[in-house]
Amino acid sequence: MASGIKGQDREDAVAGWLFMTPALIVFIVFLIIPIIFALYFSLTDWNGISPPAEANWVGLDNYQTVLLEGGIRQSDFFKALKNTTYFAIGVVPLQTILSLLLAVIINQRLLRYKEFFRTAYYFPSITSSVAISLIFLFLYQRSGLVNNALEFLTFGAWEPVAWMSDARGLFHIILEALGVTLRDGPEFLRGELLGLTVWDWISGPSVALMAIMIMNTWTTIGTMMIIFVAALQDIPGSVYEAAQVDGATAWPTFRRITVPLLRPTIFFVVTLGLIGTYQVFDQIYVMSSGGPAKTTLTMAYMVYRNGFRNSEMGLGAAIAILLFVIIFVLTLIQRRITGSEAEQ
């Protein structure tokens, strides 16, 4: 008898592995092996053109170049890190809050044409990001729709800007409005840290980067909204009914019931958002190529740039690995902050 059960188990196990095999092969071939190769190439001086076997082992040189050695590659790396971080800081909270709001609105029982709104909000997420980027290039022109709309809304007070070629940082604009400039600001602003001046570090996202951030938020909200809608529908109606019986109005219900019950989902959405923003590439590739003045140079774009333009595949791979480490650490930190409560 016992052996019969064991046989059954073994058969199940074999069947399980068999079912898994196709996915496993794809996973190994297209994910695990490339990651191992990237790790290996990051320790070589491979140029990406000659056969990989001819690459020379250089140890940690590539990492040293971007992290420690002063020079254009170090300052570019930290510029990219800075830009990407501003990108994430701007986009992740915005997309999380907006998508949660949309989800709650769409989930209202009394809302009519629910399906229409759901589709409409989701649509940007399933449209090719290249197509969207090209259209936004037109919208962001000096005489484009965005400037026109802002001019109309501010009754002509808005001064049109050429969004995609404006390199001024948000905080620089604010500081300069307050009378602080690089020239006559305090001395520490001119100090240098990791290849960039302090003034550069505190630039904030440039106008061009903000334009891409707004677009990116718009395109990603839909996906996040769907996740929230699914989670909202999982919250039992009885909870809300109980709240209603206790006399809770809309805001306390949202704050005390919806948000706490959605905490695992919020963690998930923020994680997705962090990964997505730190890897932003296609919009940069299509819209700005890292310009103006390298203010839209992001880490992922820098990997591509080094690998396929500068013939520095090894260096590109090293940056890719560093990007992986950064995302990994950020996710761990974020898990610490929101995750511990989420597990309850």
């Binding site: 140029n47 053109i49 254009i72 449209t127 290249v130 995609m164 070629s165 890292g290 310009g291």
Partner: protein
């Protein structure tokens, strides 16, 4: 009933998505390569045509191939390049068909791909390169240093017939690597209507910087958003002024940067002040993706683009009346830039294939193939012997062709992309007033020194 509707809806959704996805892919490369203000430098000039179609030409089997399918041993070669305009793609295919018809044992397949650099690089690294491929002169050092290109020295018929500037563009460390397919030079385009309205004389070959500046000043009408000239924050344009001022990027053997010189300073001041003084503006400030568009929309009276602007204007802005002349002379005389592409043969293929590949290259860059290819009037012949006959057909393009006489090659050393980025970045900031022209040159010198010392 409802299920049917859902099916129909789903079908249309999928259809839309497919269409959207296709549309995106099709348009991606031109925009990515140079759709915007700050990239056009490293993009091969041919790609700069905004109307570039990405579809390879209709893959009609050449009749010749069908008639004599397998004569002799039959080497099948692949020629890889990027797509430019539909007209050019078709013409190149026709030239290759001619070659295939005349050669029973070598058959060439033309393969025009999007995202060319990436494709080429992966095929080289993967050990299966195309037998003949395009090389932009700026990219040549990278490919040579990686050991990817077979030297063409001694294997090309009558190499001295090529313009010297073009031979230079494909000579690296003293070795000639590949014969030029065609080329473009920078010229000065001027809007004749706007010059007439302002009562100014048209630019001519004797113009100097001062003439350019004063004309630009008089043609500018800031209230109407019209500027005398459109200037890009682009090393590939400014460098012409650098050479006109007598400056050099580096010393002759590229061991030392010389970009921070008084001559360079003069060129940088001239270029940047045109914008700071309000006589010139960047394409983006004129609601345009590139200088040619700003010129076509008559937002700028002059531009300095290459001959690719001619078909672009004919397509997009056929009503604009304009003329072309050479760039003005600077303190040290005339200079322009030559942007050119060659047919390279990989170092990593068997000898018989190389021989066959060079035979193809010789046909394409030889008198017969070159004539057939350039008769379209879009590309200019790289052979001096074809000059007169070509000019008879296209007299309007003479300033561009004449540019070859005093053109400089757009080619430096491996890793120079960093310097290019730095100067572009600096020019953008100088135009915005956040960097002085001294700082731009200092930074370029510093980064260049770092690159040369690698």
């Amino acid at each position: 009933m409802t299920r049917k509707w859902y099916k129909l809806l789903a079908f249309f959704l999928v259809l839309t998505m497919a269409l959207v996805a296709c549309g995106g892919q099709e348009e991606e490369p031109p925009a990515g390569a140079d759709g915007e203000q700050d990239v056009p430098t490293e993009a091969p000039p041919v790609e700069e045509e905004p109307e570039a179609e990405e579809e390879p030409p209709a893959e009609e089997e050449p009749p010749a191939e069908e008639e004599e399918p397998a004569e002799g041993t039959g080497a099948e070669l692949q020629l890889m390049g990027w797509s430019s305009s539909e007209a050019e793609n078709t013409r190149l295919q026709a030239v290759i068909d001619d070659f295939n018809a005349a050669n029973g044992n070598i058959q060439v397949n033309l393969n025009l791909v999007p995202d060319y650099d990436t494709r080429l690089q992966t095929s080289l690294a993967g050990g299966a390169p195309p037998d003949v491929f395009y090389i932009d002169s700026f990219r040549l050092p990278d490919l040579v240093d990686a050991g990817a290109v077979e030297p063409a020295e001694g294997r090309i018929e009558d190499p001295d017939d090529f313009y010297e500037s073009l031979r230079d563009a494909f000579t690296y460390n003293g070795t000639f690597y590949c014969p030029p397919k065609d080329f473009s030079t920078l010229g000065l385009q001027y809007n004749t209507d706007m010059f007439d309205a302002a009562g100014l004389e048209y630019p001519n070959e004797d113009w100097t910087w001062d003439d350019l500046r004063s004309a630009a000043e008089q043609l500018t009408n800031e209230e109407e958003g019209v500027y005398g000239m459109v200037l890009s924050a682009d090393f590939a344009r400014w460098i012409a002024f650098l050479y006109q001022a007598g400056g050099e990027v580096a010393n002759e053997d590229f061991t030392e940067m010389t970009i921070n010189s008084p001559e360079a300073q003069e060129a940088m001041d001239f270029y940047v002040n045109m914008v700071l003084d309000g006589f010139a503006a960047q394409p983006a400030d004129l609601d345009s993706g590139w200088a040619g568009e700003a010129f076509g929309r008559e937002r700028a009276a002059m531009s300095m683009e290459g001959n690719w602007i001619v078909p672009a204007l004919a397509d997009g802005f056929p009503d604009v009346n304009y003329g072309v002349t050479q760039l003005p002379a600077g303190p040290a005389g005339e200079a322009t830039m030559a942007f050119t592409v060659c047919y390279g043969v990989p170092a990593d293929i068997p000898d018989e294939r190389k021989e066959a590949a060079f035979e193809v290259v010789n046909y394409l860059t030889g008198a017969e193939g070159m004539k057939a290819w350039t008769d379209l009037g879009l590309a200019m012949p790289t052979r001096q012997s074809l000059r007169d006959q070509w000019l008879e057909q296209f007299p309007d393009l003479q300033p561009f062709l004449d540019g070859a006489e005093h053109a400089r090659a757009w080619q430096f050393v491996t890793g120079f992309q960093d310097v290019l980025d730095t100067v572009n970045n600096g020019l953008q900031q100088a135009f915005a007033g956040t960097m002085t022209s001294e700082q731009v040159l200092e930074q370029a010198q510093e980064v260049g020194t770092e690159v040369l010392n690698r």
